[in-house]
Amino acid sequence: MVDLFANLAHGFAVAFSPINLLMCLIGALVGTLVGVLPGIGTIATVAMLLPITFGLPPVGALIMLAGIYYGAQYGGSTTSILVNIPGEATSVVTALDGHQMAKQGRAGPALAIAAIGSFFAGCVATVLIAILGAPLTKLALAFGPAEYFSLMVLGLIFAVVLAKGSVLKAIAMIVFGLLLSMVGSDIETGASRMAFNIPELADGLGFATVAMGVFGFAEIIRNLDHGAEMSRDLVQQKITGLMPTRKDLIDSAPAIGRGTVLGSILGILPGGGAVIASFAAYTLEKKLAKNPSRFGRGAIEGVAAPESANNAAAQTSFIPLLTLGIPPNAVMALMVGAMTIHGIVPGPQVMQKQPDLVWGMIASMWIGNLMLVIINLPLVGIWVRLLRVPYRLMFPSIVIFCAIGIYSVNNAPVDVILAGVFGLVGYWLIKHDFEPAPLLLGMVLGPLMEENLRRALLISRGDWSVFVSRPLSAVLLAIAAGLLVLAVLPTLRAKRDEVFVESEG
């Protein structure tokens, strides 16, 4: 414990040097901007800024890159709430209730609660990294292919629960998402699947491409649709208070707490941790709510929980990097690249060998979160005022920003065309009451699910029993089965409600 305080004190001493404070602020600002601009993802930004860090001292460079990463989690919710375009995979669920709140004139409270939730989650997760970083590493190592597969199954069940309308349509969308995720190279043989000899499809469809299409472009087409004229005006006129009311805060507090816990745990897992965390947090809130039908219609918990979860996950995803030296996702891999360029190759001893770097970064995360909440809360007013911009000016700007963002991911013009195609598909889906969120979750989880299924079966030589003989995997599958039964059988759900009423009484 004494060590911990000494280390943290050392970290704060490093992080409070003027240059590192400046780097942290730049990172937070760029991150917010990246999050706000639809389509421009953190991976592309960190990759673009990597060369700039050449000339910087390594600690400052990494503090800045880390700031961009978690800063984007703050900003990512902004477009989700205001214009129903999730900037990052992790803020897809935020759009569900966030945008409904905006439509009811409550964009201010939605944005504010997202920032407050993110701040709380960020602070807790930072402390968690400092205290429990090393022991939690075991979790990252305990998760083998079989466990991942089971976790992904659980994730897909979450997607069913997400739907506010027909369960059958939600399942159809998940399956459609899974199918889309199969476009690209087969992981085992490298053979091309459903790519139609288009070289740009050889690596599959990008998340940004599909998300911008089915959410962004489809939403714009729908808004330009004659019948939607009225609801748009509503968004512009009905703006009430900017800050959350007392009731909002009381409603959100438990959701923020639960979101933080879920996000912190799932963030440690390499791969899609943060995405699953946001979906899981939303599902949990909907399941715990006394009146689940409020969700999807502007429930503030539906914004608070996933936003806390994704920010907590963004922070704890540093744990495998800082303790094992292994990057758990693409952004972290870029950070390893940044370290390598500075002659630091991270490994299991990085904490002992680079205390300045590790503790400086941990301390900077807390400072960065504070900066972000200070940056973001006053911005709420500006964002809300943006809603008053006439739509004939707003929609071309959104289209341009989306197009630039999509292009910047792979420098590929084909991606922009594809996003346009998905815009039309998305419009058709909206018109027929299919919700795009389960589709995106299916698309994000699909590859992880398929790859881990095949890895697990390769290692077990085709023996399916690994999924139930490994305890962690069995538990996850059991939870998934339980959730599915609850979601699919309405009669059973009714009975469950009775049981709850009885036990409460």
């Binding site: 990759a47 390499p270 891999a333 690249g337």
Partner: protein
């Protein structure tokens, strides 16, 4: 209407200016007169990217023009290579290719949109990255000899991890397997990070990988290294024997990185670029940073465009029988 006409006029003027800049004959003695684009076929921060950035940073000083790195990822680097092959051969678009894109791709991708020899002019070899044979820390064999006996006896049971079809770890493990005459189950991961995670966690038995990210893990004892597949030991891992010392001289593999220009790039421009690359490799700072990465800096005789041409030719011959077409 007026506005429209004016903007059209200015647009056509701009277009004319642009055209004249492109069409103007590239005079080799003036080269380079503007910035050069260096395509790196992998993500920023990866081994190839880091090497390209270290070397081109110095080359830019020599050439007096900036070199802009453009990371184009996808399909094992073949998307980027195809794009570089189609680029204008005026010396302003180059590519840092490696063992995968400019040799192993030939047998791996039957529909390759370019050919390493027919579509490119070799410029110069930058650095080699040694390949190691790595295993989980509690894998029974103690040294390479035991490893060979063990995997041959248990070929049905052992799992080899790799970072995806066409990756250096996949390609080099295929070579190891063909040398040993075994076909173990290869477990594919998305990149070296997840593959290393699985090895550290003990979910897979062994893998072949580049030295860069393995050194800290080996030093911390989370994984073990049986041998390094180069003729000489590496200064960053002095205790790891070479494959020749450990009794498997047939397994020699290095992931090399080299600069290529589109076919037909004028010889004087190639010579200028090669001279700049050679100068960079003689620079103390560049050498120090490359050595820190565990890279092997090529000897002067191996740095000429001709030597690179021979290397590519030999490597294609080496990998073709080892790698079955993937798709």
């Amino acid at each position: 209407m007026n506005w429209c006409g004016r903007s059209l006029a200015s647009a056509s003027l701009a277009l004319a200016a642009l055209l004249s800049a492109v069409v103007a004959p590239a005079r080799a003695q003036d080269y380079p007169t503007r910035s050069i684009t260096m395509i790196v076929p992998f993500a920023a921060g990866g081994p190839t990217d880091v090497i390209a950035r270290i070397v081109t940073g110095h080359m830019a000083q020599t050439l007096g023009q900036s070199i802009i790195i453009e990371n184009v990822v996808g399909a094992g680097g073949t998307t980027a290579s195809a794009r570089a092959a189609r680029a204008a051969n005026d010396g302003y678009t180059l590519i840092t290719g490696h063992m995968g894109t400019h040799a192993a791709s030939v047998p791996l991708y039957p529909n390759l949109a370019y050919h390493p020899e027919k579509s490119f002019e070799p410029v110069g070899l930058l650095a080699g990255t040694p390949i190691l044979i790595l295993a989980r820390k509690d894998f029974p064999p103690k040294d390479l000899k035991e490893f060979v006996t063990y995997v041959k006896a248990n070929a049905e049971k052992v799992n080899a991890a790799h970072a995806g079809v066409g990756s250096v770890s996949h390609v080099s493990c295929q070579l190891l397997n063909s040398v040993l005459g075994i076909e173990p189950v290869g477990v594919p991961f998305n990149g070296t990070g997840p593959a290393m995670n699985a090895l550290v966690a003990g979910q897979v038995d062994y893998m072949c990988d580049q030295i860069v990210n393995a050194v800290p893990q080996i030093n911390a004892g989370t994984i073990k290294a049986y041998a390094i597949a180069t003729p000489e030991r590496n200064p960053s891992l002095p205790n790891v024997p070479t494959t020749a010392e450990a009794g498997l001289p047939a397994f020699q593999a290095q992931a090399w990185n080299a600069i290529f220009a589109p076919k037909g790039t004028p010889a004087p421009i190639i010579a200028k670029l090669n001279a700049a690359a050679v100068k960079a490799l003689d620079d103390e700072t560049v050498r120090k940073r490359l050595l820190e990465l565990g890279s092997v800096i090529p000897q002067p005789a191996d740095r000429t465009p001709e030597a690179l041409g021979t290397l590519v030719n030999n490597e294609i011959k080496k990998w073709t029988p080892v790698l079955k077409p993937a798709g």
